[in-house]
């Protein structure tokens, strides 16, 4: 009991000190902490790069790139507590748990720190806004567009998903079906499920090629599926006839792009994500409104409009092809 009072006293003192520090520092430098799920992950290193880019544009911003060493909520709470103690101006976090971080982040907001979440969100009470990398309609549109871009005369396409019960996959596929009429001549002939298993996805891709001899593209909005389809198309000697596209990671897809089985694919760009999160944190710390319907600018990425839950979608997934795969394959 005694010790607890003592620690809270110390914490209070350091906090007070921190707050004085903040006010003194805010005049010359705004300090924005980019908190990630865990250090040492290529995706987040790239996001930090984007954050630095934003800081460079804004001028008087210092980025503190930090996070726990493993992807745990406890680790992130420690990091948040130390950031509160340091008195940073804003925290932009990709959360390991939507709920567990809420009390710590609330404490931060009580101290006047701007808190936003990005990539992986925090529950509504624990942040001022959440930045999604993309949105269901944007992803649905992108995966069809990727296929349509490389078939000027239209043709048959098929979707190879993860499991038939995967919520996000199904939402994307629904969104894709909705935009289908906008793409003339693109004919979605089948949706099959590879369960995110290499062997099953491979077989399903083989099945698609056997059932639809005129197939022009396989769209796989899942990393296992797109790789397995790419391998199946390569093994069937149909590179050039069938374009495998969808969502994948550059490091995993480099081989498929090199072989030509995949002309282009998409995934959110972590650099843009870190950049946008920093821009938003900066704008909100400088007093931008965060109510529903509020529009907040984010530099070269345009602006976002918040919905009822205080979330917003950044942009279309970023397209990768032979021109930029070399640059990104070492990043994530």
């Amino acid at each position: 009991m005694k010790r607890r009072t003592f620690t809270s006293l110390v914490a209070g003192m350091s906090l007070a000190a921190g707050m004085f520090g903040t006010t003194a520092m805010a005049q010359d430098n705004m300090r924005i902490a980019l908190v990630v799920k865990a250090l040492g992950i290529g995706f987040f290193e790239a996001a930090a790069e984007g954050a630095e880019e934003a800081a460079g544009e804004l001028g008087n911003v210092e980025i503190i790139y930090t996070g726990p060493t493993d992807t745990t909520a406890e680790g992130q709470i420690e990091v948040i507590n130390s950031l509160i103690a340091q008195g940073v101006d804003a925290i932009a976090i990709s959360a390991n748990d939507p709920d567990a971080l809420v009390p710590a982040l609330k404490r931060a907001m009580d101290r006047g720190i701007t808190v936003i979440s990005w990539d992986s969100g925090v529950a509504k009470g624990g942040r001022q806004m959440h930045l999604n990398p993309s949105s269901t309609p944007l992803i649905g549109n992108t995966i069809i567009k990727l296929a349509a871009d490389h078939m000027p005369d239209g043709g048959e396409v098929a979707i190879l998903s993860a499991s038939a019960t995967a919520t996000n996959q199904n939402a994307w596929i629904e969104a894709a079906k909705e935009v289908l009429p906008n793409y003339d001549g693109v004919d979605l002939v089948a949706t099959v499920y590879g369960d995110d298993l290499s062997d099953k996805s491979y077989r399903e891709a083989q099945g698609l090629m056997a059932s639809y001899p005129n197939l022009k593209a396989i769209i796989a909005p899942t990393t296992v599926g797109i790789l397995a389809s790419c391998q199946a198309v390569t093994d069937a000697g149909k590179i050039g006839e069938i374009n495998v596209t969808g969502l994948g990671l550059p490091s995993e897809m480099a081989g498929c792009v090199d072989s030509g089985a995949t002309k282009s694919f998409a995934i959110w760009n972590p650099i843009d994500l870190g950049y946008s999160a920093t821009m938003l944190a900066h704008a909100i710390a400088n007093g931008a409104e965060t109510g529903a319907g509020a529009e907040i600018p984010m530099g070269r990425m345009g602006s976002v409009t918040l919905d009822d839950t205080g979330s917003a979608a950044m942009a279309d997934p970023f397209t990768y092809d032979s021109s930029n795969i070399e640059q990104f394959k070492s990043i994530f």
């Binding site: 062997d199 056997a210 790789l227 480099a254 498929c256 090199d258």
Partner: protein
């Protein structure tokens, strides 16, 4: 007893022919020779694992760690390939088989020397092996552009019209048919599972026999691990997730008794082929994914019922003369 085996295999052949007939009525191209060869090639990993699993099940054990063993060995050879891309394929094969065998021996030692129930041992090692992959890679994938071309090309290389992957399955079927029917070790597997007490009196060390069963299963899983990651050109933690159950299912459908002592290499082969044909046919006959699971599940239940029937007849054998007398 021999007649039961024969009839079971015949029954499976009929079932396979029937399934092929139904499929060809909906999708004629399925039964072309080239497609059947492709189906066999796709089923080869399952055949390799099913043979190993059959031997383990014969000795009244079960090896749930085969898929995890496959994934770990696949990852290990992939990592070796990244650091030493020039390594001859024969060395990779030896490393894969040897490493897999070591993992199998680990299972075997625990079952033999510590007398822990095999289901618990392999459930544990299954998690350990998958966890080890994560520790080795921190969840990162080994992707096709990181693997050397020879490493990826080997299982696809055509030899007398069939890919090397298929030849491995054929070789394993021949080798283990001989081992199971013509060697003392092979007969010991049957004895150790069929009647452990009698086997002990006959001078067979049941524990050591089980140890060798696990070692063989591990070696086959390791070998398959390399073939798998090179075929799909990717290695990650969840490679072949849940595949151990497909392997057990192939054995059960192939007439291998979960109680031990009954089973044959041709049975395991046909069981694997049955599942392989269904898995390859369902995508082309355009059936909902939920039905696919139901059909595989139905086949397993039918097989188990048939197995139970077979076991019951076996129990009556001793009383046959008494039965006739009444």
């Amino acid at each position: 007893m021999k007649r039961i085996f024969a009839s079971r295999e015949l029954l499976l052949l009929v079932a396979i022919a029937l399934v092929l007939g139904i499929i060809s009525s909906r999708f004629p191209a399925f039964i072309t020779l080239s497609n059947l060869a492709a189906v066999f090639n796709d089923t080869s990993p399952l055949i390799l694992l099913a043979i190993g699993q059959m031997i383990v099940i014969l000795t009244k054990c079960i090896d749930l760690s085969v898929a995890a063993n496959l994934a770990l060995t696949g990852m290990v050879v992939s990592l070796i390939n990244i650091s030493a891309p020039g390594l001859p394929i024969i060395v990779t094969l030896a490393v894969a088989t040897g490493f897999g065998a070591c993992l199998g021996m680990f299972n075997g030692i625990l079952v033999w020397k510590l007398d822990i129930p095999p289901i618990v041992v392999t459930l544990g090692t299954m998690t350990i092996f998958r966890g080890t992959i994560f520790l080795l890679t921190e969840g990162k994938w080994v992707n096709s552009h990181e693997m050397s071309d020879t490493f990826k090309a080997f299982p696809r290389t055509e030899l007398l019209g069939l890919p090397v992957l298929s030849w491995f399955a054929i070789a394993a079927v021949i080798l283990f048919t001989i081992v199971m029917t013509r060697t003392t070790l092979g007969r010991a597997f049957y004895a150790a599972g069929g009647n452990p007490h009698a086997a002990t009196y006959a001078g067979i060390n049941v524990g050591r026999t089980q140890f060798w069963a696990f070692t063989i299963s591990g070696a086959l899983a390791g070998l398959t691990g390399y073939l798998w990651v090179s075929r799909f050109a990717v290695a990650y933690v969840d490679v072949a997730g849940g595949f151990e159950l497909t392997v057990v299912a192939a054995c059960v459908i192939g007439g291998v008794s979960i109680m031990g002592g009954i089973g044959s290499v041709p049975g395991a082969l046909l069981g694997a082929l049955f599942l392989g044909i269904i898995a390859n046919a369902l995508p082309v006959v355009n059936i909902s994914p939920f039905w696919q699971m139901a059909i595989s599940g139905g086949a397993i239940i039918i097989a188990v019922v048939l197995n139970a029937q077979a076991n019951r007849t076996k129990g009556r054998v001793i009383l046959k003369r008494a039965e006739h007398a009444t």
